[in-house]
Amino acid sequence: MRLRKLAYNYPDSTGHFGPYGGIYVAETLMGALDELRAAYEHYSVDPEFKAEFAYELKHYVGRPSPIYHARHWSQKLGGAQIYLKREDLNHTGAHKVNNTVGQALLAKRMGKPRVIAETGAGQHGVATATVAARYGMECVVYMGAEDVKRQATNVYRMKLLGATVVPVESGSKTLKDALNEAMRDWVTNIENTFYIIGTVAGPHPYPMMVRDFNSVVSKECVVQMPELAGRQPDAVIACVGGGSNAMGIFHSYIEVPGVQLIGVEAAGSGLASGQHAAALTAGKPGVLHGNRTYLLQDGNGQIIETHSISAGLDYPGVGPEHAWLKDSGRAQYVAIEDSEALQAFHDLCHYEGIIPALESSHALAYAAKIAPTMGHDKVLLVNLSGRGDKDMATVARVSGIEL
């Protein structure tokens, strides 16, 4: 079956998605970004590079990940059929590794023996430490000092894998500050260091490159959905922090008419409370971390702290391509509160025997919200972007249990 396609060709040659994206960095980083852009342009079409990436995804990551029809849960909800793209079954337990494998292979070809990364909850840090071990690279992971305290298990995991974890004490001591610190390391050690950014943000070519590496997710879905459900979904739903799992599962569907794309942000304690991380829903365009995008900021242009039960969504910005998909109307963005995400978390455990990541639980919660309003013949595809093992302590604490 051939898909009817809409035209979509972003970013442009200078890294812009409409007015968003671009390269907003200090002059000291321009040389390194030029070098990276040239390398990515070269290797992204190099058959040998593509073959090695495909091989690693198959044999090391375990791709393709299956799609699973959540029959029992769909039946309980009493409406649309919900299908789950099982990124939680990847090696390291989330979609993040698709991107770190791609960037590490690129680093190897660029002759950079040292990789650095920023991490919030630690998932991207673990995925980076994993590939650094796999390819024999030195690895330094920057993590906000607050997050180091909250995510002790992942810190230990990274250390086991041979990485150095550097707690970041500046600013709000969270993900955004870790990103700042990684940029500072990069600018200081440009000759031997490759910066593996974990989401579809940062200066060009990162948003495009991270999307491309994660787009293997939607490439698989486009083939798997007709096999399993007999057709493409009516809507694709994914959680959005920086937005890499969402761009991964949206990308091949952007050009397919009739497939609605829905990104789900973290509404934290509620949008009205101000305690949330919903940059697209409640933010304003501005410039941070190398790109123009929607940001949570005060009236003076200072970036404000975010709140979500899910550390992976706790980021004040969002990838520039999402900003463009929102403005152009191709995707819709909604927000789900902590309590709703937790309910979906427990329901998936209960009805399907799958423990989802709290990040992915936001996407599940939105699916659970709209499924009952739709007919039984409708199909929702949700990106189950990660497994919830890392969230045991958080969920237990909310339930008043100390592990």
Partner: protein, 266 residues
């Protein structure tokens, strides 16, 4: 009109080099900033760079990061910084003032409104660390129209092609970053500066200031021989951090006078 070009012309006539100290507005507290600016001018600053505090100072080392955090704790916003310059101008009509910071606070105010305010209060130049010329034609157009100089960084890694790009929009002076790293780092390489400055002059007619990593009088003297001006930031901000409020102005003046003397001896 900007006071920067006339300042460099006067210096050139008498064979002098510019001393360009940097402080963050609102550090250690907003009440002291205007007094510190006057003290810098009296101690021998030719141009004063004023840092606009930002929540995410990506290109700055720990010293300037902390100064930004101290200022933000006092709630210092871009409009406050402009008010400080206005107050400074009531008794100093001559010393050029350059605002240095990140783009987002200006975005939030709006570039046109910002450019108008700069011209009103007497800001002469603006250095937006994270806005390269390619992204910002409209923004820098507003500055040009209101007689405010866009100042740009050049790095050891900047290609000739990019120097040409910067030359098209830059006014006032360009700021050569003397090392690979963030502000305040400590591995400045004089021989690279000696090679790079004449190379940049082939493309840009503007005066060239050098900064990032100038930590003492000796380095300031050595660097000043190679360029038109010396920018000292982290070292002064460190002095502010280490001094209690009663002596902060005295200590900063002593430091700036040392730097002035060293550069004059060059």
């Amino acid at each position: 009109m900007s006071r920067i070009q006339p300042t460099f012309e006067k210096l050139k006539q008498r064979g002098g080099k510019a001393l360009i100290p940097f402080i963050t507005a609102g550090d250690p507290n907003p009440q002291l900033t205007v007094s510190l600016m006057h003290a810098l001018a009296e101690a021998g600053a030719d141009i004063i760079e004023i840092g606009v505090p930002f929540s995410d100072p990506m290109a700055d080392g720990p010293t300037i990061q902390r100064s930004s955090e101290r200022a933000l704790k006092h709630g210092v916003a871009l409009h406050d910084v402009l008010d400080m310059v206005a107050k400074f101008r009531t008794t100093d009509a001559n010393t050029p003032i350059v605002l240095m910071g990140y783009g987002n606070p200006i975005e939030a105010m709006g570039w046109e409104r910002f450019a108008v305010r700069c011209a009103q209060v007497g800001v002469d130049g603006v250095l937006t660390v994270d806005f390269p010329p390619e992204e910002s034609h409209e923004a820098f157009g507003h500055l040009h129209r209101h007689g405010v100089d866009p100042i740009f960084l050049l790095a050891p890694t900047t290609s000739d092609e990019r120097i040409t790009q910067v030359a098209k929009v830059a006014r006032g002076y360009v700021y050569y970053v003397s090392l690979k790293g963030v502000t305040g780092a400590g591995h400045l390489d004089l021989s690279t500066i000696a090679q790079k400055i004449p190379h940049i002059r082939q493309y840009i007619g503007l005066p060239i200031g050098v900064g990032f990593g100038i930590r003492d009088a000796d380095t300031a003297r050595a660097v000043s021989k190679l360029c038109d001006g010396v920018v000292v930031g982290s070292r002064i901000v460190q002095e502010i951090e280490d001094s209690n409020e009663e002596v902060v102005i005295t200590n900063v003046v002593r430091l700036v006078k040392e730097l002035r003397l060293a550069i004059n001896q060059a």
